[in-house]
Symmetry: C2
Subunit: 97 residues, 2 copies
């Protein structure tokens, strides 16, 4: 992670990043995506993979598990907004499905 | 699980059950408790223990993980309300902490 990862992104930067993360939306100064899986077990495998990554990079998304659906909501508290670190997590999550 | 576990409970029955599950609240025809842990890893251990139980009994709560906090929200879709099965899950969750 570079220092830049912790600088709050501008609306223009967020809009550009969302173009390459088309399943994600911006919502209340956070980015969010809901992933749909075949069943609960697959949801849990995904959540545990995200949890492992989150611990590695010390950046923890909110995760809502609803049977076969998992919603990730990501922001950077230290920057009071959305940073490159959030999009790195989004890229990681997108790569898992 | 008995057949009775799937019968929607009355408000009186729910009120009585909440007396022995004092950390839980009733909310929109569901019961809910937020558990606070020391850290994210402990949250994940709890979530995985609940997930294992949920698969065993085929009754899956909604689980929201927010770093060191986990919120369980439980209802029985087949009964369109709160059943004994929900309080069995609450008892299991309470026993884990």
């Amino acid at each position: 992670m570079t220092e830049q990862a912790l600088i709050k992104m501008s609306e223009e930067q967020i809009a550009a990043a969302l173009e390459t993360h088309s399943e994600w939306i911006e919502l209340n100064n956070q980015i969010q995506r809901t992933f749909a899986f075949d069943d609960f077990i697959t949801s849990m495998k995904f959540v545990n993979a995200i949890a492992e990554y989150a611990e590695q990079v010390q950046h923890h998304p909110d995760m809502l598990i609803r049977y076969n659906k998992v919603t990730l909501t990501v922001s950077t508290h230290d920057a009071s907004g959305i940073t490159q670190k959030d999009f790195e997590l989004a890229t990681k999550a997108d790569g898992l499905v």
